[in-house]
Amino acid sequence: MQDRVSAILSRFKSEESSLIPILQEVQAEFSYLPVDAMRRIARFLRVPESRVFGVASFYAQFRFTPMGKNRVMACRGTACHVRGAPRILEEISKFLGVQEGETTPDMKYTLETVACIGCCALAPCVMVNKEVHAKLTPATAKEVFAE
């Protein structure tokens, strides 16, 4: 793991403003922020570990547990909400057998909610990896998992 972190750090200058981009790249590499990697980042930037943890825990993007193979993001935006997003989330949660923020035991899916995908005109929507599924209904919600 240390090699992979080193490779990322070698692309950055040791300055405070690099912290968030470094965290983003480390998460892109590991799918989450391993504790050891964050310690390493703190040493690299010469800042207290608390600083790195503080920033990482502030932003919604960062995760401290490994993510499943597929990322399912149910949109909680206003347009989705008024067009029935809570029911969609319920259906998906029931189908996967996990709650928001959890990963299926087989590590296949991680279910997250997102403040807004920006696809409001086609609400309600769910994003699976990079694909947005629009105009869902409780009956069609499961179809987002069709491969």
Partner: protein
């Protein structure tokens, strides 16, 4: 190649494209098009053309704004006619290629309208259809009609002439032009743009920065995403003009990581600008040097606030600090900094291209120009719209939006996201501008406009927004951190049927405290959704609290489902699908809901065949 030569070359290329000998097919592949299956359609159309050995040129474009009819395709024939089609799904690709690209028998259910001067018999002019007629498309003029990844398309439409003009005229003339145009910041606060820039010019500093705020955090808003995906160069031209005018040699674009396509479009655009000498050192031999960096936002709504955004770029937690000093005096790394919204910068480019007088033709005395809105929620025609300030809300909801979905009753329109409010039918006659919406208790905000109908519970909507702001509060100010939590707890109680007399008064009291005691806009405006819903929909709160009923039938503890004995045919569909085994009844005999087991998921109502309509949702908990 000089800029002028590049422009001429681009214009020539564009004309050649338009007068080609084969049909030209524009397919909208921005995020909304893609969600509706535009990429699958693209593949299917290509395959079908290959199969028929038919020639056509395909151009991927951004979003025309009529998201309700995605996927959108425009076909331009060699004879100069162009027709825009909607709802062109992959399954109809073969038929579409045959009748619309190769042949000339467009199916009526796909036709939206014709584009350009040449009319097509039996096809209305696209810009005269109800969803488009009230619109004035300036900022969005290129969205959906040019290839966002081809800078020549932008150049052929007057691109970067505004910047070239700014270089020649000098910063004082640019400021004067902006002042005359009356442009106000499009991020939400509506502060005059020229004044913000002037503050930064007047501020002392060896370095200055310009930041483009593309961290569109309001749930229910996607104007900036669409613009960046459909016409990124118009924003970048505005950024260049801003950098030149305030004397900044470095710019940042702070864009949400949730917008991967917008980020991709920006990165492509940077490369093209460098190639044309519009980015880097000594741009167009003017002595002006400018470099841009992208910062991906890591997901914090509060970072839409200027000082929090700066903290985030500096690598810190995105927490606001007191102002003054304003960023224009002491911003990024303590240097004078201007932060402008995506749409503000695009407007700057247009003003410099076309002049202040042209710009001020649209809009009202105090709110000049046009504004883009993300029209969503319970209207028939959802999408990205651009209207002149001063248009009536009714013309937006019923004209452009086409009225309420399934012809239900209009209840409210929510503007301004979590900082805005919900306006009832009485305000439909009100004009859309900064002052009028503020008088109603809401704001223009960045441009989210979510329409709600009789099936939406306003207490639930208020709870939804408070849930959002409470989670997004950065935690710095006690009134915001704890106050929003208290308000949310009360709203949760009310929607759970545990509301108590006096709750409404308590909410109003807390709202006042949070408004006064918070440092930044997030806290100061967080109570707005509650204040407006209490003001305009108080009876709904009272029904929840006193009668323990949710009139809109949304809040689960305050509703129940029942099976109508005179309509139930005993088909068993509800019984089979009930996840709580709360329904009993024999085949062909009337079924019954056991209220003690019912989890109120509503599956029975969804499953009951429409011809029977035997399941009913009733306000108020069931009598046990």
């Amino acid at each position: 190649m000089s800029f002028e030569a590049a422009r001429q070359q681009a214009t020539k290329e564009w004309k050649e494209l338009q007068s080609g000998a084969v049909p030209l097919v524009y397919i909208g592949t921005a995020t909304c098009g893609r969600s509706a299956g535009a990429l699958r359609l693209l593949d299917a159309v290509r395959a079908e053309l290959d199969k028929r050995k038919a020639a056509a040129q395909i151009v991927e474009v951004g979003c025309l704004g009529m998201c309700y009819a995605e996927p959108l395709v425009t076909v331009r024939k060699p004879n100069g006619t162009a027709v825009c089609y909607g709802n062109v799904t992959k399954d109809r690709a073969a038929e579409f290629v045959e009748n619309c690209i190769v042949g000339d028998k467009p199916p009526a259910d796909l036709v939206l309208g014709s584009i350009g001067e040449k009319s097509v018999p039996g096809v209305p002019d696209l810009f005269s259809i109800p969803a488009l007629r009230p619109q004035v498309r300036r900022i969005l003029r290129n969205c959906g009609s040019i290839d966002a990844t081809n800078m020549n398309h932008y150049l052929a439409h007057g691109g970067y002439t505004g910047f070239a003009r700014a270089l020649q005229a000098g910063r004082e003339k640019v400021i004067a032009e902006l002042r005359d145009s009356g442009l106000r910041g499009r991020g939400g606060a509506g502060f005059p743009t020229w004044r913000k820039w002037q503050f930064c010019i007047d501020a002392k500093g060896d370095r200055k920065y310009i930041i483009c705020n593309a961290d569109e955090g309001d749930p229910g808003a996607f104007m900036n995403r669409s613009l960046l995906e459909g016409d990124p160069h118009v924003v970048l031209e505005g950024l260049l003009i801003a950098g030149f005018t305030i004397g900044a040699s470095e710019g940042y674009i702070y864009c949400r990581a949730e917008y991967p396509l917008a980020l991709e479009r920006l990165r492509t655009a940077f490369g093209q600008m460098e190639k044309y000498g519009l980015l880097g050192d000594n741009i167009l031999d003017s002595g002006f040097s400018f470099h841009v960096k992208i910062k991906e936002g890591a997901g914090a709504f509060v970072c839409g606030e200027e000082t929090a955004l700066i903290a985030s770029i500096e690598g810190k937690r995105g927490m606001p600090r007191p102002r003054p000093p304003f960023p224009a005096v002491s911003g990024l790394w303590g240097k004078p900094t201007v932060i402008n919204n995506v749409e503000t910068l695009a407007s700057v480019a247009l003003i410099l291209q076309n002049g202040a007088a042209w710009y001020a033709q649209a809009g009202t005395e105090k709110s000049r120009g046009t504004k883009t809105f993300a029209l969503a929620g319970k209207v028939k025609c959802t999408g990205l719209i651009e209207v002149p300030f001063g248009i009536k809300l009714r013309d937006v909801v019923y004209g452009i939006g086409g009225g309420i979905l399934n012809d239900k009753e209009f209840k409210a329109v929510q503007t301004g996201g979590p900082s805005g409010g919900c306006l009832p039918a009485a305000w439909l006659e009100s004009p859309v501008d900064y002052e009028s919406l503020a008088a109603a208790g809401s704001i223009v905000g960045s441009g989210g406009m979510v329409v709600m109908d009789e099936d939406n519970c306003m207490v639930d909507v208020a709870r939804y927004f408070l849930d959002f702001t409470q989670k997004e509060s950065c935690g710095e100010c006690v009134p915001c951190r704890l106050g929003t939590k208290q308000m949310l707890d009360i709203l949760k109680d009310i929607t759970a049927g545990k509301g108590r007399p006096g709750d409404i008064e308590l909410l109003l009291e807390l709202a006042e405290g949070i408004k006064r005691g918070s440092l930044c806009g997030l806290g100061q405006t967080a109570p707005n959704p509650v204040l407006t819903t209490v003001k305009y929909f108080r009876s709904e709160y009272e029904a929840h609290i006193h009668e323990k009923k949710c009139p809109a039938r949304v809040c689960k503890p305050l509703i129940h489902y029942r099976i109508l004995t005179d309509k139930c045919k005993g088909c068993g569909l509800c019984l089979k699908n009930c996840p709580a085994t709360a329904i009993t009844g024999e085949n062909k005999k009337i079924h019954v809901v056991d209220q003690s087991k019912c989890v109120k998921c509503g599956v029975c109502l969804e499953k009951c065949p429409r011809k029977f309509s035997a399941v009913e949702c009733v306000p108020g908990a069931a009598l046990q």
